[in-house]
Symmetry: C2
Subunit: 243 residues, 2 copies
Amino acid sequence: MKNKIYIVGMGPGKEEMMTVEAIRALEQSDVIIGYTVYIKLLGERFSEKELRSTPMRQEKERCVLCYEEAAKGKQVALICSGDAGIYGLASLMYEVGADYPETELEVIAGVTAASSGAALLGAPLNHDFCVISLSDLLTPWEQIEKRLRAAAQGDFAIAIYNPSSRHRPDYLQRACDILLDSVEETRPCGYVENIGRENTVAEVCTLKELREREVTMFTTVFIGNSQSAAAGNKLITKRGYRI
Amino acid sequence: MKNKIYIVGMGPGKEEMMTVEAIRALEQSDVIIGYTVYIKLLGERFSEKELRSTPMRQEKERCVLCYEEAAKGKQVALICSGDAGIYGLASLMYEVGADYPETELEVIAGVTAASSGAALLGAPLNHDFCVISLSDLLTPWEQIEKRLRAAAQGDFAIAIYNPSSRHRPDYLQRACDILLDSVEETRPCGYVENIGRENTVAEVCTLKELREREVTMFTTVFIGNSQSAAAGNKLITKRGYRI
């Protein structure tokens, strides 16, 4: 029988925002591997598991560690925040897995920040939408800019991941400037910080105001489409029902 | 104190693919309201709740029913498949809610088909992506076509919802033809049927082959970006790590 590694999306952080099957996969595992921050978010109930982490930017090493531990006969779970298949390690695990044909993978879907952040803001993604990361660690900025322009061109609602970091404090401003080439300044937008953790923030603002906001690496940003409206502190993208 | 209605994303169908807080919200509710198909997917353990449904195309009536039941002092949960904020009833509930200022809403995020379908196919959405519905019930076809072209232009991976129905059996073919104007015939694609239910199907194929496939209203379709690859029966969209 083949070894199997679970690749588990843990959602935003709180255990109650995990799916039942994600929790079950962690319970059934001998060793849980992940980025340090996510390992720390796991509750007390997993403290008896063997917990292993590798630092940021050592993603390939983290994947290799999963396969090596599985080869020892242990049941391994790799945890990712949100959904493992959305900017998580699912694809890298498949790529690295070419060297480990005796091991199979099971991806267990989780709630990504587009969904969990949207829930806090109201319904900003309730029609066709794009998800775009502003991190240019692995993607040339020209590609990111091209996608922002295409998203505006298609009148998509947009969820923006990784809008800022210490090394790129002005990237959200740059993205807003690109969008402002074709989108009006008053377009309803919003952002959510620390979803499912302490000090959660959910704010609605215009695109022009968004450009001036300071955000962190724990912020998810939402840009409305031409049918979106702010209603109090909620951002609603209409589906088109007659009401 | 205000009444509160829970708007619950139930994920693809199986209870184990619901989040813990979604299950808890249903447990705490007196009445669970939803489209007939989703009400039937609920397990035995909710059979003692008051279960109410309205047929398809009576979405506004379903929302009004929620507010009316809440006004009687009952705890109401409205269930939607996948995530309530992604082609679900969250935005319509906010719109209808303008007439019911005494009631507040809490959206509880769920796993949408883009995530649950991707998990079955491998990692097709592991970089920037778009979600587009082919249903033209509430959206003019010209808008859908514009978004498909913009998604191809931006080299997004794409998840397509509602690719077909009895009244529009050829819509996926039409969408593929639009994409084929700018995307090569061999582009890796895939589709998933009946996620989290019986007779789940997950298939990888090329864009040209996808055009000929028969799909149903329970199919979710995935189009790779220029960096996607088929590996056996998996569809992998690379993030750009050096391996």
